[in-house]
Symmetry: C2
Subunit: 174 residues, 2 copies
DNA sequence: AAACAACTATACACGAGGCAACATTCCCTA
DNA sequence: TAGGGAATGTTGCCTCGTGTATAGTTGTTT
């Protein structure tokens, strides 16, 4: 085999592929936003996942969701959801409720304290979004971005499409 | 729609804010892509962060980067970089090199085996990107998306802007 | 020259999350 | 009316990454 002299011209060329730079842009923007957001959320005693759990529950009818549905929406494993709910239950933000029809499953439901916490957190969070995301783009640029993102999201994550408010039947398709 | 008790009308209203749906779209698309990609990377024995480390090193001059610069680019902590490099050093994908001018710092440099691993992994990875990301959008839609992403990335993560190939002085602006 | 501040990498303890095993419950069929 | 198979949530064990403290190195100031 030809050895060490030639490093690897093929790989060298692939590294500059526009597809690589595209995902690089996407992922770097994501981590940047996450850093900004999580710093603000930490001031209110919430981690990123805890905030997401709180949001997804609050947007659901009755402010509650079954554990497995919550896992599907957050792309956490079921055990991960169990532990997050344990934590937030201990903190009084959400509580468990036995499912009356199916004794296997249980609901996670936001407590009044949880809603209050969300109320405290959301305004500053929305400001942050406007500052580092939506506010940086022109109106038509923003709509174009959202349309592209929606296309990708729907393709790559069909089970989370029900996450939008108003769409009934969360987690019905399986 | 059940007329459930409205706990907090303010928060209720904020939950439907378009900014929330915007970041929701962004983050859900991200996690979806990460899931797809990491599944494929796992087949080649690489985690997502290991792949990113390998990529960032391979794109750098000499296929090497200082530990702290690597930490800055990947938004991992310095200790996190130490552990990843330990692992990949043990697997023979990269090795450490002492810095001749500054005895405090050390370099992480890709080994030939590491470049070979990258060579094995990249083609399928590029196919996956085309399938779930770039290929889903029209040309003008894609460029619009990339421009918007670049705007956000540059605003939110200025230290990683040097990640693009060809831009000299990685980690020079501080 | 000596003290001091700024960096760089590592060691250690901790929390977070995933996988696999497990107990329980539901559903369907023989 | 059992009984097998699928579904649901929880727990033990493991890996991974962070924050803090530590040691070693370099440059600066008096």
């Amino acid at each position: 085999m030809s050895t060490s002299d030639i490093v690897d011209p093929v790989t060298e060329h692939l590294l500059d592929d526009p597809r690589i730079t595209a995902v690089g842009l996407f992922f770097e923007a994501h981590t940047g936003l996450v850093d900004r957001f999580s710093a603000q959320l930490a001031e209110h005693g919430l981690s990123s996942v805890e905030f997401e759990v709180l949001m997804r529950l609050a947007r659901s009818p009755g402010h509650e969701l079954r554990m497995s549905d919550l896992a599907a929406q957050t792309s956490l494993s079921t055990s991960g959801v169990t532990r997050v709910v344990d934590r937030m239950d201990r903190d009084g933000l959400i509580r468990r409720r036995a499912c009356p029809t199916d004794r296997r499953s249980s609901y996670a439901v936001v407590t009044p304290a949880g809603m209050r916490r969300l109320d405290e957190t959301l305004p500053a969070h929305l400001d942050l979004i406007a500052r580092w995301f939506t506010g940086l783009l022109g109106p038509e640029q923003l709509t174009a971005l959202l349309e592209a993102l929606r296309t990708i999201r729907d393709a790559v994550r069909p089970e989370a499409t029900a996450g939008a408010r108003g769409t009934a039947a969360a987690g019905a398709e399986r």
